[in-house]
Symmetry: C2
Subunit: 162 residues, 2 copies
């Protein structure tokens, strides 16, 4: 009688972790398919990106890279970001902060953000309804939506009363 439950859990895990942690071999072929090479620097950058906790910006990534003793340059980090995006290893997170785009490992599935204007905490959420609604809007506007960024700014429970 527990089987149904187990199946459900598996299905969920598939959803939650689908596309995570591309294996080296498949990664290599993905890159090769685009005429790209899996170099040392690129490998370091990918590893570091996958090891990042939560959101990060290019500089964060570079710092973490240096910490690990990698020789990868800052330029390479910037150059790699489009590649990592393309390969589905990272994805864009919110762009709330100053002017950097934050990126995020694709560990968990797509989600949007609530960002506290006071403490900076970000709450992640996922609303299928909201996603569907956006599809409808795109259809109505004759627009082929690829991805989106939704960031709701305001005050979290702790900060709401100053």
């Amino acid at each position: 009688m527990g089987h149904g439950l187990i199946l459900t859990i598996n299905w969920r895990q598939l959803n939650v972790y689908g596309g995570f942690a591309v294996k080296q071999d498949s990664l290599k072929s993905i890159l090769a398919g685009k005429g790209l090479r899996l170099t040392r620097a690129r490998q370091d950058i990918i590893t570091a990106a996958q090891a990042m906790k939560g959101h990060f910006d290019p500089q964060n990534l570079y710092d973490s890279l240096k910490e690990k003793g990698s020789k990868a340059s800052r330029a390479s980090v910037y150059r790699s970001i489009p590649v990592l995006l393309e390969a589905g290893i990272i994805s864009e997170a919110e762009r709330t902060d100053r002017c950097t785009h934050y990126e995020k490992v694709t560990e968990n599935r797509h989600h949007d953000h609530l960002t506290c204007l006071r403490c900076g905490t970000t709450i992640e959420f996922y609303s299928p309804t909201l996603e569907m609604l956006q599809d409808e809007i795109c259809q109505r506007e004759n627009f082929k939506g690829i991805r989106h960024n939704l960031d709701i700014l305001g005050y979290c429970r702790e900060c709401v009363d100053k």
Copy 2:
């Protein structure tokens, strides 16, 4: 017999332009309430911001300011942006481009964006359902939402087939 119509139109204008073109006097008191002064530079910047067409970034604003012969400095422009935001004279638009925040006069009511990844065109839309849904999400998460940024990236009608 035309009176009802006129009233309706007025009401609509109130909605559409509500909060637009803050009068100098009330503006002054809004600022005063925060211990801020309505200086020449600030005034120039506000006027210029309200005169901007569509989206713009700080540099655009500064350029337009120079065109009009204002002596306001770039620093003042940057310094004013939080103030203008606070006073509801401008609001954030999308942050798609490089790393500048785009701002937008509050001429028309809140809307969200579809941005074409190829030609850069932005289509503005407003979906009450989507707005309500976000309110619900905030409630569910015990979050006091103030404003939000939704940008759907993809391809417009003209660019969808390369």
